[in-house]
Amino acid sequence: MALTPLRLVTIVAEPVLESRLVRDLKALGASGWTLTESRGEGSRGMRASDVPGEGIRLEVVASPETADRIVAHVAEHYFPNYAVIAWVCEVQVVRGEKYV
């Protein structure tokens, strides 16, 4: 089974950012995204929702370059003012050509 080494970017953010983040991800070259609903606590604890602690958890499989772009974009545009955390992980992707 030929696997392609790619990057998995995971972003946990406030729900209010969903549509904006998805738009950004596509613009930055992501071929897709997967979202699960989450809740949690962090250091900032500020979040604008009537239901406290809710969040969205976005996963994007992408090439190292796209992953870098996404991470840099999130760090610049969302970290200063929003409750966001993001991490990157090396993964081996099935039929990975599709997602580059």
């Binding site: 406030e14 500020m46 604008a48 929702s49 009537d50 239901v51 406290p52 809710e54 003012n81």
Partner: protein, 338 residues
């Protein structure tokens, strides 16, 4: 409070007494009690919580039911009647956020962006407060105007727009496009269900409404009780933030509704509303949005601290209006009517 004493001293004693009665009747209503139970449950650190999907489903139901019923009533009302009250409502939507902003800046010395963010909330309206007010005035024997739900729809957006505008001016980003965010407010759940319900109700009329009335009207108050239970849980969850927000915001969250409520009841009376209708308009003006405003403000003014505006509107003003404000605005409305 200042207002009531200075403006109409002579009707003082009788009304004061009946206000106490009204207050007591209100306190023992299942709505206020359910809210109190929610607060208590959270203080006891209970795991009780309405599942998120049920909470959303309930709020969709309440808003759509509100719109539907309003629409059916609208279809039977002479349309001209609504003109003056509509103008009064729009005026309140512009004046109240400016008053709130000025108080927050001058007296509270908040950062401009925080003041603007809070002003956007107090310029808009809480649908549940509206419902509670309507239920209250009906319970005391009034028949508020059938088109009040239409006014509710009118009051939601202007205050948010004014608040965001003040914030963008303050952060010197007057060029920032507010259009996108305001479009999201206009097409947001609250507006769509309310305005959509009004249109559906008006088009289908009494005969179309009849078969669905048991669902949308018969269940309405019971469902509201359950919703207020959850609101109590959510409000109490924010109580611990009061320490962080400080005493000024608590005072603000209690005083500004009284000012806005008197303003609303007065404007309503001027526009020809009955005491019941003017009281509801007062409650609308006094209320602060906690569903439509927060995401709009969060997107446009991310530098503002959400703890401030959410705690003030959800943990202070909402309970204050529910428990004491609504009877008070009704008392104002009756004074103004004389």
């Amino acid at each position: 409070m200042v207002i009531q004493v200075t403006i109409l001293p002579q009707a003082d004693i009788i009304s004061a007494m009946s206000t106490a009665d009204l207050l007591q009747a209100n306190l023992l209503s299942p709505y206020v009690l359910a809210f109190g139970l929610g607060v208590l449950a959270k203080l006891l650190r209970s795991d009780l919580a309405l599942p998120k999907d049920v909470y959303t489903g309930l709020s969709i139901y309440l808003l759509f039911a509100l719109g539907l019923k309003g629409g059916v009533e609208l279809s039977e009302a002479p349309f001209g009647e609504i003109f003056l009250p509509a103008v009064a409502t729009l005026a309140l939507g512009v004046v109240t956020p400016v008053v709130a902003y000025a108080v927050l800046r001058r007296l509270g010395r908040l950062r401009p962006v925080d003041a603007a963010a809070i002003a956007a909330h107090y310029g808009s309206v809480s649908a549940v407060t509206f419902i509670a007010a309507q239920t209250f005035v009906r319970a005391v024997g009034e028949t508020p105007e059938p088109y009040l739900a239409t006014l509710l729809a009118l009051l939601e957006s202007p205050g948010i727009a004014v608040g965001l505008g003040l914030g963008l001016l303050a952060t010197r980003r007057a060029d920032h496009p507010v259009g996108g965010v305001m479009r999201e407010v206009f097409t947001g759940r609250t507006m769509l269900l309310l305005v959509g319900g009004l249109i559906v109700g008006a088009l289908t009329g009494k005969s179309g409404y009849e078969p669905i009335q048991p669902f949308y009207e018969g269940m309405f108050r019971g469902a509201l009780t359950l919703f207020l239970l959850e609101m109590g849980l959510l409000a109490a969850e924010r109580l611990s933030d009061l320490k962080r927000t400080g005493p000024f915001l608590v005072a603000f969250g209690v005083m500004i509704p009284v000012v806005h409520g008197a303003l609303g009841a007065w404007a309503g009376t001027l526009a020809g509303l009955s005491p019941g209708g003017a009281a509801v308009l007062g409650a609308m003006a006094a209320s602060a949005s906690y569903i439509a405003a927060p995401p709009a403000v969060r997107m446009t003014l991310p530098e503002a601290n959400p703890t401030y505006y959410l705690t003030a509107s959800l943990a202070i003003t909402f309970p204050f209006n529910l428990v004491a404000g609504i009877p008070l605005y009704y008392w104002f409305a009756r004074l103004f009517a004389e």
